[in-house]
């Protein structure tokens, strides 16, 4: 053991590093009784932060299904990898940047996009699509507008410059996010299956190379901040938010792609949360190696940076590469061409220790495995969420369907998000076959007639009411959205956003939601291949709605058969597929209940996984056979909201049969496992006939045509009115006029 400079760690240091006394005790054990110095304490602090170590969730994450014959690499690497045929792989992950985005929305969101891009291209994939899942506080809250504006321009500012299309996402509002917004960003990339790069370091003596931007003092302790509740002082944490430079990221992508095309890289990882510390520790740990770093060689943006600052900086756009022997010159040339920093900052050893030197002096010496792998794992106490009673439609006020429809189409959670997505370049790379606004985004696989379908979803109010059912529903909705464009769903990434796990009811939400996700993934053979956990989303003790955002990826084998939500022509027959006979319309936790009746109550609609699979497979087969002219899955707002969305997208109305009673339940209930399709009139009866023997419920709802949504009793709402309400809310709100 090398001698390290003396250290005086005070209880205040331990506390300010977010470590418990018990954890500090474990540090002393690992160091054989020696006290850590401040550099070492800082390293323990970030490595054992909730953000990096998953210490509260690990026990439950292990229960998730992660395997299928098409999974090439599941959770544990920078991103998940699946086989999409033709020798290609899709590499993807979703990650949160919640805490920084609340404090500094533009940079928080921008660097969230930058971070997730790096997670994907570090594995050898060229990023081809960005998605996001955003949650803001109540529109009435004084901070909400500024946060929406900053986050949206931050996502656009980064993605647009890097040149990766932002093709879709979701935006919700709820007062529970007033003090903790959620910014979850997802990237999907494409790689050759025989050119995938991993992060396990190998080969003692191999050079450790730093590339990208210089290291500054930004983002120090970001991971620790993201692992604690906010209090009244959260705005004072602005200095811990990183600053992004998308132009450098673009250069870094191109330089890495160029280097990856050679045979120079042994392993590679981006410097994300906890920067140089976590990247070097994780690479060494995965490969069972040791590492020595000479910190004075780290490219620095500012003078006089200390080892502590260099190890904990979260400066953006940096990567760590282990090169194969003799490849330095080749690699250096590529990074110089792209005008990026390139520095050999150390080498691998076989000692299993991380030795940090600064101008020859040892400033830290830590065993790698206990730190990276034997980080704490807690079995936190939890209590299950009490089931809520089922709310019957008869107990919910019924208002004229026309008024209810208008209210819903213009409410913050359903209104068109055009104001948001028009700030994202969704068409750069010229492969976007389906832009934002449909069920799933569709991005063509370059030079082929195949495509990836991608969707991000979660219905937090369902999860709050019943974490298990809500967890299932989030998974199933992505599966349904991919199905609705004609895709075969393959795998998901999950981004689990919750409150403080040290509170048993919150831990109960986490456990319930993970079990629900697991159940849905197992049944649909739709495994989890990557993910991220964001806990402590609380301010002054108020937690967010539990929000396990799911990002699903599927494949469309023939783009000519892809469906969209828009009605295509008058005279098509509208079919409702999947409505169970017994259902009278599930209004518990529906948007009708919240927005029209002013109540947030009851059990959420249950998800029947067997039914989902049966119905979804049937719908997908019809689409792939080229028999469907438009398709939309039903979710928020129920049947008539879904129909209106299809009508607005195609600017063609519809005439609907009598929906039956109770009318509000039938029209606005949020029963799961349902799709609306339009088909050519001549084919409708044939589809009904084929569905019957396989027990698929199909109803003829009516026909497309006209410029209104018309019910059989001749009551109607014009598309023009609905469009104004639907398109009007967001721009009016953002201009501060409502």
């Amino acid at each position: 053991m090398t001698s390290v400079p003396n250290a005086r760690i005070t209880p205040a240091d331990i506390k300010s590093h977010g470590l418990s006394e018990e954890e500090y005790g474990r540090i002393l054990e690992i160091l054989g009784g020696r006290e850590p110095n401040l550099v070492e304490l800082g390293i323990f602090s970030v490595m054992w932060s909730e953000h990096c170590s998953y210490k509260s969730s690990k026990k439950w994450l292990k229960t998730l299904p992660t395997k299928a014959s098409w999974v090439i690499c599941g959770p544990g690497e920078n991103a998940g990898v699946i086989d999409i045929g033709d020798g290609l792989a899709a590499i993807f992950k979703m990650e949160s940047h919640n805490h920084p985005s609340y404090i500094e929305p533009y940079q928080g969101a921008a660097t969230g996009v930058g971070g997730i891009l790096r997670d994907v291209f570090t594995m050898g994939a060229r990023p081809i699509a960005n998605m996001n899942a955003l949650r803001f506080g109540s529109p009435d809250h004084p901070k909400t507008r500024r946060l929406v504006s900053g986050v949206v321009s931050g996502i656009g500012g980064y993605g647009n410059c890097v040149g990766v299309p932002t093709v879709g996402g979701e935006v919700n509002f709820h007062p529970s996010y007033n003090g903790n917004i959620l910014v979850n960003a997802m990237t999907v990339g494409l790689a050759d299956q025989n050119k995938i790069f991993y992060s396990a370091a190998a080969g003692a003596g191999n050079p450790v190379v730093y590339v990208g931007s210089k290291t500054g003092r930004d983002g120090i302790h970001g991971a620790t901040m993201a692992s604690a509740e906010f209090g009244a002082d959260s705005e004072e944490k602005r200095p811990t938010v990183q600053v992004g430079d998308p132009f450098t990221e673009k250069l870094l992508i191109e330089a890495c792609m160029e280097l990856m095309a050679t045979d120079a890289i042994q392993s590679i990882q981006d410097m994300g949360a906890a920067g140089l510390t976590s990247s070097s520790f994780e690479m060494a740990s995965k490969g069972g190696m040791g590492v020595q770093l000479d910190l004075e060689k780290v490219p620095q943006r500012e003078e006089g940076m200390t080892p502590y600052e260099m190890m904990l900086s979260e400066s953006q756009e940096r990567m760590l590469i282990i090169l194969k022997p003799g490849k330095e010159a080749l690699a250096r040339k590529i990074f110089e061409k792209w005008e990026l920093d390139f520095a050999v900052i150390g080498h691998l050893t076989d000692t299993g220790r991380m030795v940090l030197k600064h101008h020859g002096e040892v400033v830290g010496d830590l065993p790698i495995d206990p730190l990276a792998q034997a980080s704490p794992e807690y079995d936190r106490p939890w209590v299950a969420t009490e089931p809520l009673p089922v709310l019957h439609a008869a107990d919910v006020t019924e208002v004229d369907w026309r008024d209810a429809l208008k209210t819903l189409m213009g409410c913050p959670d359903i209104a068109s998000r055009r104001w948001v997505w028009e700030q994202y370049d969704c068409i750069v790379m010229a492969d976007t076959a389906q832009r934002p606004g449909g069920d799933a985004a569709v991005v063509r696989i370059h030079n082929t007639n195949r495509a990836l379908a991608i969707s991000t979803d979660c219905t937090p109010r369902y999860v709050k009411a019943d974490p298990f059912e809500g967890g299932k529903q989030a998974v199933v909705e992505t599966w349904r959205n991919i199905t609705a464009v004609g895709g075969k769903p393959l795998a998901i990434t999950d981004n689990l956003n919750f409150g403080n796990p040290e509170k048993p009811p919150i831990m109960g939400q986490i456990v319930g939601a993970i079990e629900g996700i697991g159940a849905a993934c197992s049944h649909l053979n739709y495994p989890v291949v990557s993910g991220n956990v964001s806990l402590y989303n609380e301010t002054n003790g108020n937690a967010i709605l539990p929000t396990p955002a799911i990002g699903g990826v599927g494949v469309i084998d023939d783009l000519d058969k892809m469906t969209t939500v828009a009605f295509k022509a008058p005279g098509d027959v509208i079919l409702l597929i999947g409505q169970k006979d017994t259902a009278s319309g599930w209004l518990g936790q529906s948007l009708y209940l919240r927005e029209v009746a002013g109540r947030e109550e009851g059990a959420p609609p249950p998800v029947d996984l067997k039914h989902e699979k049966l119905i979804g497979d049937f719908v997908r087969n019809l689409i792939q056979a080229g028999r469907v002219t438009a398709c939309h899955d039903l979710s928020d707002g129920g049947l008539v909201v879904g129909l209106t969305e299809m009508a607005l997208a195609g600017n063609i109305g519809c005439l609907l049969n009598d929906p039956g009673v109770p009318r509000h339940g039938r029209l606005f209930g949020e029963d799961q496992g349902r799709y609306v399709l339009t088909v050519k009139a001549a084919d409708a009866t044939a589809i009904l006939r084929e569905a019957e023997p396989v027990n698929i419920p199909v109803q003829m709802l009516g026909v497309t045509g006209g410029k209104d949504i018309v019910l059989a009793d001749e009551t109607a709402v014009s598309l023009a009115d609905l469009r104004q309400l639907h398109e009007g809310w967001f721009p009016t709100y953002m201009s501060g006029k409502n």
Binding site: G156, F247, K250, I427, A430, D431, A433, R444
Partner: protein
């Protein structure tokens, strides 16, 4: 016909342009790195969209002074056709190949959407396949596409028939309502006096394939091939 696409470090629509050019020509264009000091012998040069050098300064201002721009100017003077799309329009305008300047959009936000353009000038190799007054649908994706020129310059541009496209409605009406970014005269694209250089903010190369939602942009590349082959 031979074509080249210029690649700046922050170009991100270089591939988009190359794909559209190849589709019309039948052969891939040459990709020319910004630090190259020589241009290959070509009939047609695309300066593509993107963020050339990050564009933290004025868009295109740094790229306009890159080594390759000298060569492009020289080629343009000799009559080589030059097409600047989006950031490419900003760059060739900054470099003085076209009059005017591109300012921040009037509402200060990035805008990505399909827009309708009215074709104003069909007497050029770029627009010969369009009909005069034809309305085409092509996407924009920019934050600084607000075309500005002083009164005298604007008058000269109009008088000499240098306006290629204007932002319009689906029916072809040109009004303040259809002016998405605040451009003077609703100008979406302009020629040099000889109509051998075209700069436009919309992206014809991203609307040259029905899978992407339409092919109105393809006629531009097909027209060039027809004229230059």
């Amino acid at each position: 016909m031979k074509a080249a696409v210029i690649v700046f470090p922050g170009s991100n629509a270089d591939r988009d342009a190359a794909v559209a050019v190849e589709q019309s020509i039948g052969a891939p264009p040459k990709m020319v790195w910004h630090r190259d000091t020589e241009l290959p012998k070509v009939d047609f040069i695309v300066v593509p969209g993107g963020f050339s050098y990050g564009d933290y300064l004025r868009c295109g201002a740094m790229a306009a002074h890159s080594p390759i721009m000298r060569e492009i100017k020289r080629a343009a003077d000799k009559g080589t056709r030059v097409l600047g799309i989006c950031n490419g329009f900003q760059i060739i305008t900054e470099a003085g190949l076209l009059p005017g300047v591109l300012l921040r959009n009037k509402d200060l936000r990035f805008i990505c959407k399909d827009v309708y353009l009215r074709v104003e000038q069909t007497k050029s190799d770029f627009t010969r396949r369009y009909k005069s007054g034809e309305v085409i649908r092509i996407p924009v994706a920019h934050a600084e596409g607000n075309f500005f020129a002083d009164d005298a310059t604007l008058q000269a541009i109009e008088d000499k028939g240098q306006v290629a496209f204007r932002y319009a409605s689906a029916a072809g009406d040109v009004s303040d309502e259809t002016n998405l970014n605040g451009s003077r005269g609703n100008i979406a694209g302009i020629f040099n006096e000889k109509r051998t250089v075209l700069g436009l903010m919309p992206h014809p190369e991203r609307m040259s394939d029905p899978v992407l939602g339409g092919a109105d942009g393809r006629k531009m590349f097909d027209g060039l091939v027809e004229a230059l082959s």
